[in-house]
């Protein structure tokens, strides 16, 4: 019998025979509780799971090559970088104009840089006023030209 004040220290592997059924019940409860917890927190792992070592986490050589490609992409400018824009060249100007309405496409569609977009816009308006390029439509012979603007037409 234990008194209230004293603490009991039992050696690790002794089981007090009187408390055996109680202990068993407690153990069962604990085990079941743990099993339930396990069911919630169980993460499916592959049978061949190995712990992540630092060697596997670090990127390999192909990732470094990808970084090189990115720098090459940023070097090239807009598509009209070395092309002089002229109001007489209506075939070029017609590529930046809607085939249905003849409206000039915006920067988000043409993908041109600020300078070239302005040049194209000015050239188109000049061509309109001079009587070189149609205003409300596109010349039919230019309809088959390659589409440079990123707009989808329902044809």
């Amino acid at each position: 019998m234990w008194s209230l004040g004293t603490t009991v220290t039992l050696p690790a592997f002794t089981v007090v025979p009187e408390l055996l059924p109680v202990l068993c019940q407690v153990k069962m409860l604990c085990v079941r509780g743990l099993q339930r917890l396990k069911a919630i927190f169980y993460l499916p792992r592959s049978t061949s799971h190995r712990s992540l070592t630092s060697a596997e986490v670090l990127p390999k050589d192909d990732a470094l090559l990808k970084v090189e490609n990115l720098s090459r992409e940023s070097k090239k400018g807009c598509m009209l970088c070395n092309v002089t824009v002229d109001f007489k060249n209506i075939q070029l100007l017609s590529q930046f104009v809607s085939p249905h309405t003849g409206r000039i496409y915006g920067r988000h569609i043409t993908g041109l840089c600020g300078k070239k977009q302005k040049e194209i816009s000015k050239a188109i308006k000049k061509a309109h006023s001079l009587g070189f390029m149609p205003v409300t439509h596109k010349y039919p012979e230019f309809m088959k030209d390659p589409r440079i603007c990123s707009i989808k037409h329902l044809d």
Partner: protein
């Protein structure tokens, strides 16, 4: 003297009449002290839209480009004369743009702006 360009649209006519109209125009230019550098015939085509001039509706026209040097003071009188010419549908005088040395339009700064 500054350099100008005359984008001329003539009425669709027979060859001798077109030639006579062009000759007349160039002679007017030279009379007023212009130096004609180049004359280009861009052919007869369907006009992009119908134009009404001198009480006539035009669907076809012949395009010419005259490259010349002249004093700026004569341009007003020249345009007046061309507007009065019955055979001319649309005369326009433009300043000739100097061909800039090809500097890359997409340098680092503009590329940064494009990304934004």
């Amino acid at each position: 003297m500054p350099r100008y360009e005359l984008a001329l649209i003539l009425k669709a006519m027979q060859r001798p009449e077109t030639a006579a109209a062009v000759r007349r125009t160039v002679e007017t230019l030279m009379e007023r002290g212009a130096v004609v550098r180049n004359l280009e015939n861009m052919g007869e085509r369907l006009l992009p839209y119908k134009m009404t001039k001198h009480n006539e509706r035009h669907s076809r026209g012949t395009y010419f480009l005259v490259d010349f040097y002249c004093a700026p003071s004569i341009l007003d009188g020249l345009l007046n004369h061309l507007h009065r010419d019955v055979d001319v549908v649309r005369p326009t005088v433009l300043k000739k743009e100097e061909q800039e040395p090809k500097s890359s339009c997409c340098d680092e700064k503009t590329r940064q702006e494009m990304k934004r």
